[in-house]
């Protein structure tokens, strides 16, 4: 088991920068998810860790050992792809045993390791079946088996659940996480799906445009997004961001949104152009609310509903109880849970320090 460290890792393809000067430490035994939209650099980062791609500059350390220029096979890392890449003409047993045969392990040891891997993945009864006739989920288990059987120092997974349907994906997420709890192997997992990330990760690394925007526990990423992009990428629906009318002086406890005075958590740093960020579940319907808007849509989702409200400051999404009925086109007032308001710098798009940010950080840290 091992720690993975990226120092100033950089990769460009011609003029295109795929990964920009990235620093990241993936602790021993952690399950870390690289999350971002397509083209954000997450797969390139993973391929560089695997040794399938060489960096333009920078360094990769595996347990303090520089592996930057080592071949993939010398790194003792197992890679699980989105496409199963199994040998269709072989049985499950032969597929799982394949990497061990390659390493010329003694027969007895191969048999024992394949058996224990199959037991772990609960595919013992499939061992003599041909891979060609298996369901997608079973194939993915076999692909995992082939990675696990090598007992590598780390697992790298590139959207391994991407081809499965939604219901099954949720189940496999739980299984993968359970497996990780048993094996305790350092795992780096790439996905564009935030619910997979939230369900499995110890730490989430949000990437965009080749850069790491935030690396933290799922709770921190959700409640304290470091940038506007992170807040918009995570959450369903995403965080609301509304432009603030005038410069915000340090110590401000109120801002104006399209003329409406809105109390906010005390801002600890001034900013000439700011955005207010608030999650839909922290917006409250309030007849006395200064910010007013028209209900454009009511997205009824069974367990709750999302009101889409058009205000002079922009569209605000509000999460409300399932039993609340608000007529369409009604004009309503909104207030925000003060201790849950965050302010962002409109230029850098970064989170500004405020009292609520401090409080939330503490809560998240201590549970």
């Amino acid at each position: 088991m091992s720690e993975i460290k990226l120092n100033n890792l950089h990769k460009s393809f011609g003029d295109f920068v795929a990964v920009r000067n990235t620093n990241l430490t993936i602790g021993n035994g952690r399950f870390v998810v690289l999350l971002g939209p397509s083209g954000c650099g997450k797969t390139t980062t993973l391929r560089m860790i695997a040794g399938l791609e060489l960096p333009t500059s920078g360094q990769i350390l595996l347990d303090h050992r520089d592996v930057t220029w080592q071949r993939a096979r010398e790194r003792d890392i197992a890679f699980v792809f989105q496409l199963f890449a199994l040998y269709p003409h072989m049985t499950v047993r032969e597929n799982i045993a394949f990497p061990l045969r390659n390493e010329r392990l003694p027969r007895k040891q191969i048999i024992a390791r394949v058996a224990s891997t199959a037991r772990l993945l609960r595919i013992e009864e499939l061992l003599d079946r041909r891979v060609g006739g298996l369901s997608g989920g079973d194939r993915q288990r076999v692909a995992l088996g082939r990675a696990i059987v090598r007992q590598p120092q780390a697992f790298l997974m590139d959207e391994p659940l991407g081809t499965l349907d939604a219901d099954f994906r949720e189940l496999m997420c739980l299984e993968l996480r359970k497996l990780h709890n048993q094996l305790g192997a350092t795992t780096v997992y790439v996905t564009h799906d935030q619910s997979e990330a939230m369900a499995m990760a110890d730490d989430i690394v949000v990437m965009n445009g080749g850069e790491v925007l935030q690396a933290a526990a799922p709770e921190t990423i959700y409640h304290l997004p470091e940038t506007v992009f992170v807040g918009s990428f995570i959450g369903s629906p995403p965080m609301n961001f509304l432009p603030v009318d005038a410069p915000v002086p340090p110590g401000a406890t109120e801002v104006r949104l399209a003329g409406a005075a809105v109390p906010v958590s005390r801002c600890l740093q001034g900013c000439d152009k700011a955005l207010l960020g608030v999650r839909p579940e922290h917006v409250v319907l309030d007849d006395d609310g200064r910010l007013r808007g028209r209900v454009m849509a009511d997205e009824y989702l069974g367990s709750h509903q999302i009101l889409v409200v058009e205000t002079a400051a922009g569209v605000v999404r509000v999460r409300v109880d399932k039993n609340h009925v608000v007529p369409l086109d009604a004009t309503i007032g909104l207030t925000f849970r003060v201790e849950r308001t965050l302010l962002y710098d409109g230029h850098s798009q970064r989170l500004l320090p405020s009292e609520s940010a401090l409080v939330v950080r503490k809560e998240v840290a201590h549970g």
Partner: protein
């Protein structure tokens, strides 16, 4: 716009009973969503209305008039598919104008232009009219496909999972727009999907289809909050409804014949000090994103969605109560026992 009625419609493909004695009435200007898993008969039902399939039994009528023997092209319905099927060599404008220029219509180019620009504005693709249809994003292509149906001003729109090939953000955006457009035009829409979010957000009424049969029809609130069977209760809800053994509930509260008790995750109350908690469970998983708790204790596993801001950790012990008014009771054959 027109109403659509199916009376006792049955359709078989060899041994497979795709649609089984289906009766359904969709009102003029109604947004009706057929929801079901793949193989439930949704698309077959849609194709029967379009005239692309013929029923073995029963009558399909459109606008109060039996349509069984009316040719698909004479039914005045527009079909929108999951795949956009635009003409790649034509511009957005020409794609939109295409149905109006068919020989069966006699629109002048002025009339065509007026309709195309009005529809393009409505769908926010007015600035893209000169683009090749292949130079558009997925969301824009699906807008053009919807626009091509709109310009014809058909009596009924039939939509087969039109949003399922789009990513989550675009899907939400188009969902909201489609609903507004339907309200504004008073369009009759029969829409099929396996996505419960689309069903509850778009529909005036939902029909839950299973193995070719309608198991419940109602408004989204009726179908979600007042399911007629355990099957219907389990079709909607994410995370799915909890089904617990009756022994978990105070015996005096149980109607006779109860074989299963169900409760929605958001109705499970966590650690409410006002009530005497009947259960003490352990947190197995906590997802801050979905406010979701997976709890277990002994043989019981419960999923709860909590409004509280507390951050839970695996292994925390919590008190749980299941309020009487939120419990749903079902008999052994899955039928709802109302109390």
């Amino acid at each position: 716009m027109a109403e659509v009625t199916l009376s006792g419609v049955t359709k078989r493909f060899r041994d497979v009973l795709a649609v089984d004695d289906l009766s359904l009435s969709i009102g003029n200007g109604e947004f009706f969503v057929l929801l079901g898993p793949s193989g439930a008969g949704k698309t077959t039902t849609l194709r029967l209305v379009a005239g692309l399939e013929h029923p073995d039994q029963g009558i399909v009528s459109i606008g109060g008039e039996a349509a069984n023997h009316i040719h698909p092209s004479e039914r005045d319905v527009a079909f929108i598919f999951q795949q956009y099927s635009l003409y790649p060599h034509l511009t957005v404008y020409d794609n939109l104008a295409f149905p109006l220029r068919s020989p069966r219509h006699s629109f002048t180019e002025g009339e065509v232009r007026a309709r195309v620009t009005a529809v393009a504005e409505m769908l926010h693709i007015g600035s893209k009219l000169g683009n090749r249809s292949t130079a558009l994003s997925g969301g824009e292509m699906q807008r053009v496909a919807i626009g091509r149906a709109l310009v014809r001003e058909p009596r009924v729109f039939l939509m087969d999972e039109p949003l399922s090939s789009l990513d989550a953000k675009l899907r939400e955006e188009l969902r909201i727009e489609l609903k507004r457009l339907q309200r504004r035009l008073g369009a009759t829409i029969l829409y099929v999907t396996h996505d419960q979010v689309e069903a509850t957000t778009l529909a005036d009424r939902i029909g839950i289809l299973e193995k070719g049969r309608l198991i419940q029809v109602g408004t989204p609130r009726e179908v979600y909050g007042d399911p007629s069977s355990l099957g219907a209760a389990q079709r909607l809800g994410s995370p799915p409804i909890n089904v617990v053994p009756p022994a978990l509930v105070d015996g005096a509260a149980l109607p006779s014949g109860t074989a299963a008790v169900a409760i929605r995750p958001e109705d499970v109350l966590i650690g409410d000090p006002e009530r005497s908690c009947t259960l003490h469970l352990e947190v197995q998983e906590y997802s801050p994103l979905r406010h979701l708790l997976i709890l277990n204790g002994g043989s019981v596993e419960l999923v709860a969605v909590t409004a509280s801001e507390r951050v839970y950790a695996r292994g925390d012990r919590v008190g749980v109560s299941l309020p009487r008014q939120s419990l749903l009771f079902f008999s052994a054959d899955g039928r709802r026992i109302r109390t």
